[in-house]
Amino acid sequence: MGKRVAISGNHSIAEGVRLAKVDVVAAYPITPQTPMVEKVADFINQGRLDAKYIAVESEHSALTAVVGASVMGTRVFTASAGAGLALMHEIVGVASGNRLPIVMGIANRSLPSPWSLQADHSDSMAERDLGWIQLYAASCQEALDYTLLAYRIAEEVRLPVMVCIDGFFLTHTTEAVDLPDQADVDQFLPAFERGDIYLDPDDPMTINQLNSEATFTELKYRHNEALNSVVDLFPHVAKEFEERFGRKHSLCTAVGCEGADVVVVTLGSSSGTARKVAGQMRADGQKIGTLQVSCFRPFPKQEVIDHLKHAKAVAVVDRSWALGTDGPLAQEVKSAFYSAGLNVPVYNFVGGLGGRDLSEATVKRVIGKALELKEQEEQALYPIWIDVKEEAK
């Protein structure tokens, strides 16, 4: 059996990297990701992780360097946040387009401007359609477990994975975490094997060259097929994980959704808050459910539909400022509902931006407003900014 430790979210991902026996790490420090890569550097320095650490001169080079190390057939890790992830943007598509099983820790931080050091999902959401798997953890335990799941899934489908944890709310919060034994992890995550593309003088090939319209579409089609296959693969890998480590993980986690008057849909660290508030309200006789979406890419449409189809209303909380339209999570839920012909009202709430706490009070306000809109049979064409101060209006 493993042991129980008190560690932060950053530290949890670093433990996942250590347990995954990563070979090459390249990273550039940025708040609030810094302690994550410091911890990895520490593990290497102490000899607890036999890896090379490349202290690159930028995030752009961090992702570039791990792409280079990955095509050499090594297991790699990098991490970023906010503007640093935005700087990587160009290489985000290179990593996934070359089908490289890279795992990247994201300490979610708002994109400028205005500058903010703190959490929202605007950074990872800006990368959401570039063909990476995106997992959003709601606890330090999930941060560790998702890192291990990430390597396993990445190497099966040959796609990169972002493991996202909310800046400060998870990166810097200490929680009790069950740390698995190395031997168990080795069973769950076999030694790295290179895929179909590699740079090897004994078997030369040219990688990543220019393509024409004759092949571009087909390559992106296959990329998309591989990404979508994760919806089916994830439950199998999660089942094996549960059998080995005793913890259950899902694409999305529903509590009390069946017949609920309102289901609150969340991503990331606010999921626990939403579950607590909804639980209290259910104890008071109100029918309030929650759905935590853990896997945002690929978006598990059918699972979301199945969990939400018997709800009377859905309140989607986006911790992301998608200006000019719905938040990204609401777009997904509405799209899934429309595709399934569901006529359940979906209300989009934007909140928790730039580190503002998505507090129990805010979740209660979300639920109250959703109940009110449903009661009055009102539509909300654009998102409701639920925690904006009156003075800004």
């Binding site: 890896a51 057939g73 030369p204 040219t206």
Partner: protein
């Protein structure tokens, strides 16, 4: 020796870069990984299912070829594969402009790789736009009145950074270039070779004059040939009789409208720099 670059490539007639590529692999052989950025050298890396390389190759982005080299080099180190050469073949724009940060970072970290810049003194693959490496007085499509600023000296920047091996070379003196590639291979760290590479279409020059122009650049002292091992400068081709800058310029339509004072400044700068190199050699 087997030819490790295919015949019949679609580089332009008289292309200096192609000669550089062939010469690199003539020296380094099969145990080499080539990287090219989006640029003329990407022609060698190929299109669709075709490639010009018979060694493994990777197409980088424009600004990060040295960062790819970093990751590849460190992975090889981790795998104890120390006999594989990692080579970047990038143009001047991808090196002295947009690629400078990644190059400087990779050099500072000391990774083992060879960076060959083919300097054709402008963005040629996009159709002749000025780069930091374009010389004074040269016409490009974005300097229609001729470039006003002098050429950026990347080699001095790398020397200042303490790179273990740096050299200039010219396709006009290909044996000298090959010797430098062979030396670069032996360096346990980053090695950089800045190679003068005429571009007939971009320079409005005759393809048959590529070698002649490349020799003249050296013989006029506009592009002196030297190397520095751990900062020890050695001029590898001493110019006994300085050739005519006028002749050099007249072979290239890009200098058709160069002003007299610009010719003057080119000549003065060339003389001063060459003398400075000789002085540092003497030290």
């Amino acid at each position: 020796m087997a030819d490790l670059v295919s015949k019949g490539l679609t580089t332009c007639e008289g292309c200096g870069m192609e000669l550089i590529a062939r010469s690199i692999l003539d020296v380094l052989g099969q145990n080499t990984i080539m990287l090219t950025p989006p640029s003329c050298s990407a022609i060698l890396t190929g299109f669709g299912s075709e490639t010009g390389w018979k060694v493994p190759a990777f197409q980088s982005n424009l600004e990060n070829i040295a960062a790819y080299c970093s990751g590849i080099s460190v992975a090889l180190e981790h795998q104890n594969k120390t006999d594989i050469n990692v080579v970047a073949l990038a143009g001047d724009g991808g090196t002295v402009d947009i690629g400078l940060q990644a190059l400087s970072g990779a050099v500072e970290r000391g990774h083992k790789f060879i960076y060959v810049c083919y300097d054709n003194e402008a963005y040629m693959n996009t159709g002749i736009q000025r780069s930091g490496s374009t010389p004074v007085g040269a016409w490009t499509t974005t300097t229609p009145g001729g470039k006003k600023e002098p050429k950026k000296n990347i080699v001095e920047m790398l020397l200042a950074q303490g790179i273990p091996y740096v050299a200039t070379a010219s396709v006009g003196y290909i044996d000298d270039f090959k010797k430098k590639v062979a030396k670069a291979r032996e360096i346990d760290g980053p090695a950089y070779i800045h190679t003068f590479s005429p571009c007939p279409p971009g320079w409005r020059a005759k393809p048959r004059d590529t070698i002649k122009i490349a020799k003249l650049a050296v013989d006029t002292n506009l592009f002196p040939l030297f190397e520095a091992i751990d900062g020890e400068v050695r001029v590898t081709r001493k110019v006994r009789k300085v050739a005519s800058i006028k002749e050099y310029l007249e072979l290239q339509g890009r200098f058709r409208n160069i002003r007299d004072e610009e010719v003057e400044s080119l000549a003065t700068d060339a003389e001063n720099y060459y003398n400075k190199l000789l002085e540092s050699e003497a030290k």
